[in-house]
Amino acid sequence: MNDPRIPNDRDDAGLDADALLAREAVRGLRPVAPESAYRAGLKAAFASGEIAGRAARGGAAKVPEPSILPLPFPGRHRLWTGIAVAAALVVAVITGILNQGPAWRIAGVRGEGSILLDGKFVSVTDASVIGRRIPAGVRVEVTNAAELDLRADGVMVMQVTGGTDLILPPSPPRWFARRSALHVQEGEIRVTTGPAFQGARLDMTTPDAEISATGTTFAVILERTGTCVCVFEGTVAVGPRGTAPAPVSSGNLRYIFRDGSAPADKPMRDMERTKLGMFRNTQMAALGMR
């Protein structure tokens, strides 16, 4: 060897006979000496800087352009790239699954009338349905004077009352993209949020209004003449479709008229205040707030 820095053999304790044979065979290989003329020519070129010109003129074209930093072997590179992509996909899928908000479950049924979930009848007197999981995307139809409470644990409770027809959205995701969107075509719903809703947003649309809530208790009531949004707690942004919603503070309502008249802001009606208060009180424990 040119530079006999023999490695520490103690590092290689435990080598078997074949490995020892191989080690000694490699150590026994003599240095490969360059042809003297070649060496002298290269040395002169290196010392004078002419070697840089060789590179510029393509003098070393027989050898492809290398990189100074260590590169992985090509097969390895492709393998590791593939593994990295696959791992990233797995992580993305797992993250997406884990990021999902809690499932909706039936928290209560009452009143008179019928509840249809994707067209399947649910009896308002059947207590066994309490706790049943309802997947997002299900069409929820509540008729007459029936009421259905849907809860996403710790996040929110939605009370769907008679005459309401909606498609159940996913509850807000846990960590990022924490937005849930709901369209209500007709009827009346009440919403109250829990501690896990913090940082999330619920966007709702009706034929008349756009509503955006970030933690509150409120009701959305669709009537023939327009949409009324009553805010019991917190602040909800409400505006006509196609305009930027403006905030409505607690204790007030905003009425968005279907005929395009200017929205009306008023104190909330006593009856709705009472209903929302009762709704909030009955759901606080379910949301983990007591």
Binding site: D11, A19, V26, P31, V32, R39, L42, P66, L69, P70
Partner: protein, 195 residues
């Protein structure tokens, strides 16, 4: 700057700051110190003298080009070895057909300097030794390239695991495992060749 030999493995004859400035005397000393070792390891890695000459030239082109990036406080040896192994890797990657040629030229037809290093006028012994070396090199060339690299860097070039890890861009534990597997594989190949 002259490196204190007690503080570094860098020979005190090397003027690394002059090398950084590409001063001819410093470049010449640098070449003199590293070239033979570089040529030898790339020749063993590539198994072919012609390819080794091309590769060694490319290594020193790269060294010249990157001279200003050298840290004069550190031993340039691993840096040089890294460039050399990368040049070989690029060759393996981009021109596998060039590697078809086997290693006979390395040990069967040594250059004048190689013959002189033998030192003893014993043709029969030289022939046996040359034949054995040819078979060993042949077996080395049958190893996977990453195996060949760690075996040669460790047992031919005499590098520590830590250095090899830095050179090949892997962690030390992976290098140890790779080396162990490579030696076992090489041992089997040598047995098959009757050594």
């Amino acid at each position: 700057m002259k490196i204190d030999p007690t503080q570094s493995t860098t020979p005190s004859v090397l003027d690394l700051e002059g090398f950084q400035r590409r001063e001819p005397a410093a470049l010449e000393a640098f070449f003199e110190h590293y070239f033979d070792r570089v040529f030898s390891i790339v020749a063993r890695l590539l198994g072919n003298r012609t390819a080794a000459e091309d590769a060694a030239q490319e290594v020193f082109i790269k060294i010249h080009r990157a001279a200003h990036t050298l840290d004069p406080a550190r031993d340039p040896g691993p840096w040089v070895a890294m460039i050399a192994t990368n040049v070989c890797r690029d060759l393996w990657r981009s021109a596998p057909h060039r590697m078809e040629r086997r290693s006979a030229s390395l040990d069967d037809t040594p250059g004048l300097a190689d013959r002189l290093t033998t030192g003893i006028a014993d043709p029969e012994r030289d022939l046996l030794r040359s034949e054995r070396a040819r078979l060993v090199q042949e077996a080395v060339m049958e190893l996977k390239e990453d195996f060949r690299e760690v075996v040669l860097l460790r047992d031919y070039d005499g590098r520590a695991y830590e250095e090899i890890a830095a050179i090949v861009g892997a962690n030390e534990s992976a290098v140890r495992k790779r080396y162990s597997r490579a030696l076992a594989e090489l041992g089997r190949l040598l047995r098959k060749k009757g050594l």
